[in-house]
């Protein structure tokens, strides 16, 4: 009896330690996890060309900065001293703007990942896209910025979709009727990504509005327009595409596109709806039913 009630202290200590360890790990893990979840969640940040979607980008980017170095040391860097470059590697605290209100900074850039702020230095859309091939992990995917030319796969910067330019019509002076086409002329895809729409100005009756209109299908999000904009705070600016653009969904079929209706073939979801017809004759319906009831 005395023997069985003897407490095995080593055993007890072992279990207590296991529990303490698990408790500490759970505490540490949730704080750590919470911090990382917070830090990685910023939707406003602009990534280099060829970047895979943001969630996947965070998973893949190893934060080596090879893209940043390639961007900085490219031959056609407008900054000939090569001390600055479009891409930068996020350091802690980078989201704090140097001058309040002047720049759009990401709220919090996941530390160590590459991004750019077009208002300071936009992407100059180098044709050889120096930043993409050095990426070792596939966070920048050459496939996304390649097209087939003469049977060969070549890098094509025009396929980049870093973001999309958005015009604030309220504060764009061209919408006031002043003549300004700074963004239009700055655009590397002039007349494709930004076109000027001509409209009569009813205020003066004479002059025309020359309104910049962005075509999101073509716009790469390089931000040259944003840099060129003459207003104090640019009225055209680049936002990540998932923020600036809507999404229609796949259930709309465009009847005016030749192939689109093919999608309906073999579809199980769509069938002819049959409304059961009334069995009464029209005469009976008119004479017997109390039509006035409904009023």
């Amino acid at each position: 009896m005395a023997e069985s009630s003897k407490v095995d202290k080593g055993r007890r200590k072992f279990f207590i330690q296991i529990l303490q360890g698990l408790g500490l790990a759970a505490l540490g893990g949730s704080i750590w996890g919470g911090y990382v979840a917070e830090a990685k969640h910023d939707e406003i940040v602009l990534r280099p060309p060829g970047a895979v979607p943001e969630e996947e980008f965070i998973r893949k980017c190893i934060k080596c900065g090879l893209c940043v170095e390639a961007c900085k040391n490219r031959e056609n860097n407008p900054d000939e001293t090569k001390q600055t470059a479009t891409l930068r590697l996020a350091a802690p605290g980078d989201h704090r703007p140097k001058e309040e209100g002047k720049y759009i900074y990401p709220k919090e850039v996941p530390v160590g990942t590459p991004y750019f702020v077009p208002r300071e230095i936009p992407c100059y859309m180098c044709e050889d896209i120096p930043c993409v091939p050095p990426c070792p992990t596939g966070a920048l995917d050459p496939e996304l910025v390649s097209s087939v030319k003469d049977g060969k796969k070549v890098l094509d910067i025009n396929k980049a979709r870093m973001g999309v330019a958005v015009v604030d019509a309220e504060n764009c002076i061209a919408y006031w009727g002043l003549q300004c086409d700074a963004c239009y002329r700055a655009c590397p895809l002039i007349d494709e990504a930004i076109k000027l729409e001509l409209r009569r100005n009813p205020r003066t009756g004479r002059h025309a509005f020359l309104l910049p209109v962005v075509y999101p299908d073509v716009c790469t999000g390089c931000g040259l327009c944003e840099l060129a904009c003459v207003t104090e705070k640019p009225a055209i600016f680049v936002l990540p595409r998932n923020i600036a653009l809507g999404r229609v969904g796949k259930h709309y079929v465009k009847g005016w596109e030749k192939q689109d209706e093919q999608r309906l073939k073999g579809s199980k979801g769509i069938q002819k709806t049959i409304t059961p017809k009334s069995e009464k004759s029209p005469e009976e319906y008119l004479n017997v039913e109390d039509l006035l009831d409904e009023e």
Binding site: G29, W32, V36, K60, I62, K63, K72, C135, T137, G138
Partner: protein, 277 residues
Amino acid sequence: MKNNILYKHRFLIGRRIVQISILLLYIAGNIYGWKILQGNLSSSKILDVIPMADPYAVLQLFVAGSLLATDVLIGALIVLLFYSLIGGRAFCSWVCPINMVTDFANWLRMKTGLHREEWQLRISRKTRYWVLGLSLVVSFIIAAPAFEFISPISMLHRGLIFGMGFGWVAVGGVFLFDLFVTKNGWCGHVCPLGGFYSLITKPSAIRVKHDADKCTLCMNCKNVCPEKQVLWMIGKESVIVSSGECINCGRCIEVCNDDALNFSFRYKPQKEEKEDA
């Protein structure tokens, strides 16, 4: 010659030269576009050809759920094989920039008399394995490389190359922790990268070897060693230091006045082994 101050610090000087040159080559890779070493310790390229990557970072990315390009996988394999088969945990003492920070903290600790046993916070040396495991769990849950977000190692290294921002805070934290809380606190107890290398470098060839016949039990080596648990054999047995936790810094060799400790190769041809014995 043997008491020459340079000779007495030959590995320390060697390590600083290696650490600083690697750092400078990385910095020049960014500032001047030199191709000798580009990128940073997370992933880099030698001479624009040979890829290298931090295998622990790659492991986190993998656990976070990404299929990675072959470049980084080859790079991680190269680094992994080098340290696990040859260099041991030499990354920590010969490459890692935090090593200079923690060594400085340690030096200050000793000089200022801050180091007193009763002032130390007791942390298990096994904590790093918990942190290592935890980093993988968190990486999996959050779908992002968890340690890479808070790593003072990459923050310092990346900061020196690309701009520091508030990265100083993390580095300063490590410094203060090592200075005031625990001796060799970060590298010897907490750092999961160190823990990772401890686990994978067990088979490595370059090893410190102890000669018990020459040992006079002065214990200088144990006092100076940042991972003193690996030196359990001092004065007892003539064996190599086989623990993966040894960082191959060579400090024990420098301080030993009796030539009882030296670097050696573990997988020597049989003949020499017999001669030694």
